[in-house]
């Protein structure tokens, strides 16, 4: 009951804040939502891996970077549009994810958490350095006309292409929720996440499930890599901020809370763009993630101490 009332209060406050923003600075809201879509779509697969395999994949953003490079050179070679490359990239990164899981992560699942972090951090460095060695630190960008499509409402004008990230985030969130709650394979994955011993007892191959979940997450991140390429220039370090931001979002939402990731992304995307809209605070936008995560963690530990 109390929880419901609190949710209602938060919802009412956010609607009020959004309405105020629409009137006062509409573009902050628009670009904030677009950024939120991108952040959420990248964070959701990382949350999936953390929720079920219980691994913090510090190479998550780097995996998206690898996918974007693969999509870029695939598109160049075949004269394809990155949008056409989404599915093939997803398939390739899924296979890549399966192999990475079997060769490395699988062996660290019983190791202490610190060793797991060191492993995935090592993978992140290996991935970005490998790309740096092969393709140098040069940036690559796809020249695409449709990404500059814009729209005018009244006297404001804004780019609309990035709304595609919002759509993808919503598709990821709903698709995954459906998969995890309505299909048998998904339920088995949830069961493995909640109690691997119990899952093995009922005949579920726990390690195979971990591998499949990791591959699925990489498929999603691979699709995002190709989509990211439509909008942004890519370079070896392009993925790493996404690792940290995804981790912040998951920590804010709480493990296993996919709708929470959407909510946290909107909060952070809008906050970032709000700061960016004013000259004196522009440079503060980059740290808003970290400030908010500290606030959330402090609030949670204070609440934990009270109860």
């Amino acid at each position: 009951m109390i929880v419901k009332r609190r949710v209602a209060i938060i919802a009412a406050l956010s609607i009020a804040a959004m309405t105020a923003l629409i009137v006062w600075k509409p573009t902050v809201l628009i670009y904030g939502l677009q950024a939120a879509g991108l952040y959420a779509a990248v964070a959701i697969p990382m949350g999936l891996v953390l929720g079920i395999v219980h691994i913090v994949n510090l190479a998550h953003g780097e995996c998206m970077m690898l996918a974007a490079y693969a999509a870029y050179f695939g598109c160049k070679a075949l004269g394809m549009d990155p949008l056409v490359a989404i599915l093939p990239t997803a398939i390739v990164t899924a296979i890549f994810g399966w192999v990475v899981f079997q060769l490395t992560i699988r062996r660290a699942l019983k190791a202490p958490e610190l060793n797991q972090l060191i492993l995935t951090f090592g993978l992140a460095i290996a991935f970005s350095q490998a790309i740096n060695l092969i393709f140098t630190s040069q940036t690559y960008k796809m020249p695409l006309e449709y990404v500059s499509a814009s729209m005018d409402i009244g006297d404001i004008s804004f780019g609309v292409w990035s709304f595609v990230f919002v759509a993808v985030a919503i598709i990821f969130a709903y698709g995954l929720t459906f998969f995890l709650t309505k299909t048998m394979t998904g339920k088995a994955a949830v069961a493995v996440g909640q109690n691997p011993r119990g899952a093995a007892i009922v005949g579920i191959d726990v390690y195979r499930t971990y591998g499949l979940v990791f591959a699925l997450a990489l498929a999603l991140v691979g699709a995002m890599g190709a989509l990211f390429l439509t909008k942004s220039a890519i370079f070896p370090g392009v993925g790493s901020p996404f690792t940290m931001k995804s981790f912040c979002l998951i920590a804010m939402a709480g493990i296993g809370n996919i709708p929470g990731i959407l909510g946290a992304s909107v909060l952070l995307g809008v906050a970032e763009n709000f700061l960016r809209a004013f000259r004196p605070t522009r440079d503060w936008a980059e740290i808003v993630f970290f400030v908010l995560i500290i606030v959330v963690i402090l609030a949670r530990s204070l609440k934990g101490r009270k109860s």
């Binding site: 048998m184 339920k187 088995a188 109690n195 119990g198 899952a199 007892i201 009922v202 005949g203 579920i204």
Partner: protein
């Protein structure tokens, strides 16, 4: 059915099970012994959760020592663990369905198995949409038994099914065991020897990782050592 020969196993360097010979046929078998005797460890070895150091474990003549837990479960061995090991965030219904979904010989009969389990434990039917983690200890134990039965097991293993339950529910659990006896081989560990002797055909007494006694239920009931140490008369 199940045949264990000269089994040694343990944790790290500590040997817990020491040269155990053990058999379960088409019958109900009890495994008794004080806390820490190694009952759960022996069951862990059968289920592939504790790796055997020496000796063999066979299921219908096929070696299963060294096999993975999920593979042993798929061969028809169902475990009701001491710690229940349910999926706490999932509904009673989902817990039950998952009991059968990955067992080749059971996954096509989920509706009929559900009916059987609901007949044995009407409370599970009433609560089928409830989150497993929010149920009482007794209800969770029934759910764990129900989940095991969903897999149409050939061998049902129960590790201390009466542990921590109030007497009325203990009686209900043993009543169910008696009803199941005719259709499935049962291996049950217990500290509540008095109640379980009514539900089993034969029993073993395990102390410090060794089998110190094995006899029929009647034999155990009248054995002076069992009477003194376990029946507390």
């Amino acid at each position: 059915m199940l045949r264990i020969q000269n089994l040694d196993c343990g944790y790290g360097r500590m040997k817990v099970i020491d040269g155990v010979d053990f058999e379960v046929g088409a019958e109900s078998v009890g495994l008794f012994g004080p806390n820490g005797a190694g009952k759960s460890t022996l069951i862990g070895a059968v289920m592939g959760m504790v790796k055997p150091w020496k000796g063999s474990i066979e299921l219908d003549g096929q070696r299963i020592d060294g096999a993975e837990t999920y593979a042993i479960a798929r061969m028809g061995v169902a475990l009701v663990p001491q710690e229940r090991e349910l999926f706490p965030g999932m509904s009673v219904y989902d817990n039950l369905v998952l009991g059968a979904a990955y067992i080749p010989h059971a996954k096509d009969d989920i509706p009929t198995q559900l009916e059987k389990v609901f007949t044995l434990f009407p409370i599970l039917k009433e609560r089928r949409t409830q989150c497993a983690g929010t149920m009482s200890g007794g209800q969770q134990r029934m759910l764990a038994i129900g989940r095991a039965l969903m897999s149409k097991p050939r061998l049902l293993i129960l590790d201390e099914p009466s542990l921590g339950l109030q007497p009325s529910i203990v009686a209900e659990v043993f009543e169910v065991l008696k009803r199941l006896k005719s259709s499935v081989s049962i291996l049950v560990t217990e500290q509540n020897v008095r109640e379980s002797l009514k539900a089993i055909d034969r029993g073993y007494v395990l102390e410090n990782g060794r089998i110190v006694l094995k006899d029929s239920a009647e034999g155990l009931q009248t054995n002076p050592y069992v009477i003194k140490s376990y029946l507390g008369i």
